[in-house]
Symmetry: C2
Subunit: 370 residues, 2 copies
Amino acid sequence: MTRSAFLTIRMPPTGMPITLCMPVLAALAALAAFASLTTGCAAPKAASDPSAAAATASGLPSDLPSRLPSWRPGPTRDAIVAFVDRVSDPASPDFVPEGERLAVFDNDGTLWAERPFYFQLAFAIDRVRKLAPDRPEWRTQEPFRSAIEGDLDGLAASGEHGLLELVMATHAGMDSEAFAEEVEAWTSEATHPTLGRRYIECLYAPMLELLELLRSRGFTVAICSGGGTEFLRVLAEDLYGVPPELVVGSRIEMVYVPDGEPRIERRPAIAFVNDKTTKPIGIFERFGRRPILAVGNSDGDFAMLEWTTAGAGPRLGVLLHHTDADREFAYDRTSPVGRLDRGLDEADDRGWLLIDMAEDWDRVFAERSN
Amino acid sequence: MTRSAFLTIRMPPTGMPITLCMPVLAALAALAAFASLTTGCAAPKAASDPSAAAATASGLPSDLPSRLPSWRPGPTRDAIVAFVDRVSDPASPDFVPEGERLAVFDNDGTLWAERPFYFQLAFAIDRVRKLAPDRPEWRTQEPFRSAIEGDLDGLAASGEHGLLELVMATHAGMDSEAFAEEVEAWTSEATHPTLGRRYIECLYAPMLELLELLRSRGFTVAICSGGGTEFLRVLAEDLYGVPPELVVGSRIEMVYVPDGEPRIERRPAIAFVNDKTTKPIGIFERFGRRPILAVGNSDGDFAMLEWTTAGAGPRLGVLLHHTDADREFAYDRTSPVGRLDRGLDEADDRGWLLIDMAEDWDRVFAERSN
């Protein structure tokens, strides 16, 4: 159940790049230093998107654009609006009954940022530091020593096995309620290393508006992430209005413990990795149906979009292309985190919509009141 | 992932009983002939149920009893009504917010009958017979030969491995949509061997009324069954008004196949058995929360009730006791299918409600219009 990805990490003190192989386990495997990650620049977006033209051609009147204020007017916004209109308007020939209006969104890089590394990895490292006083043996034991000392060189050198140990030590061995408390406490304070805001303030305003628009039109809006299900469930209702039962992610093994206070405990083993070709499985196991709308940002979402758009009836696949080095990050074909390569090549032919962050979004990050 | 149960089967041609050991795999493992299964008779139900008294004591006014017309007036019905009232009435001190009002129901023996064998096993046997013309090798190969010839002796003799083969051959090797068509075609015609009605007419009217009552009070009503998830999903919306995303069951391995028409294929391996102590896991993985109401009928539901009722706040566990040999079946402590032993012993102390089918239900089976 593990897969590997190659990452190049440039270590802050020396600037020396190293290449390592690591698992995409529970979306915790991408580890990269800050300096090396603004790779690749967006290819210019085609002026006339065929799927956008087709969708707009449905010609349905709509008040929906006004509910996407962070989106700039243009073919991308119009194509999304036209799709939502034609599947939710009972008078439309493409009308889809409400119970079948399932939309799935990737999380890292789609609903919130994912650079310079997945936020859940930052949680794991911070958690090691928090637990360290009770685990004196960690001071000399990798990968814990490196995590405690903020030594990314050492963390990288511990390789796949070391990172797995890091995940298990920080995400297991407690019941689900205790784990949720840990995640909540962390997110209330933890701050993004370069964006100058807390991680939970790195949410994309245009996407939050889209989630709300979809729900107002009778869609079930679910998250389908490579990240850990329980990690995301703690946050998704507050951040995205997505309740726990609509969060599909990777899973750790769990076991029922009847003794004492009957509870479910988390065990140090991966039960399911929800990434790439297993995203369709994760969705189908949960909902028993194929979505009609899938939104992602990397080749890890390719199979999810492919499966979604291959079904009968009206369907839409959407990829967010990170093209905005000024306001967020610009990366695609060569990025170790959120690589978008095959998706860029095939989106047009498949009728998938490409969101160009720099061009299509008037505002990137949502404001947060607490 | 396999567990064993002992079954005594009396074979129709000879009447000779045999004992066998078999897995409870995807709820297909209970195999028993008709004659030997009306074992055990119900212990008389305690006149004053402490949990019923406590619940009724909430004293909330209610129009709910009129919506349970197939239930006889009495402490069982009153306790259920009082619980529903006190968690869904905003003025109640025990009010539970709507999103947390999760109710889980076992299926076999709780929502529909399970004797003389689980209905899904009847489907598997019938499906072997249907596929047989294209599989001439099955004529001499166990357990298929026995299934084709209706030879329950032979089927039993093939043991655990043989029954596993039967499940795999009939539930895998096709995509999910093709499997759903098979199940639909079968249920439209297949008839229960002793009750004189189709399997899909063996639903309990009082339980259907309870599902509807709960939904009208803002409950999410889910099924948590040892049976196969995909088998149940085909039926649950039509039979119970429960959509696919609210069906939790055992699962076969699935794999995403992108070639040709991208699809999810079913593989001949068990991914998850949702029974006994894994029922809490199945529920938690799906919903990310603990139910407040759990309804079952056998010791296979014990952990589900135990976990449900151990949480904080108002909670209710309910067991249906099959005491009605005249209208349905009477069985409990020694039954190979749906054994209820520990549950009978501990229900009172745990404050769980016991439904006495013969006493508490005015009508057993629901009428069906098609």
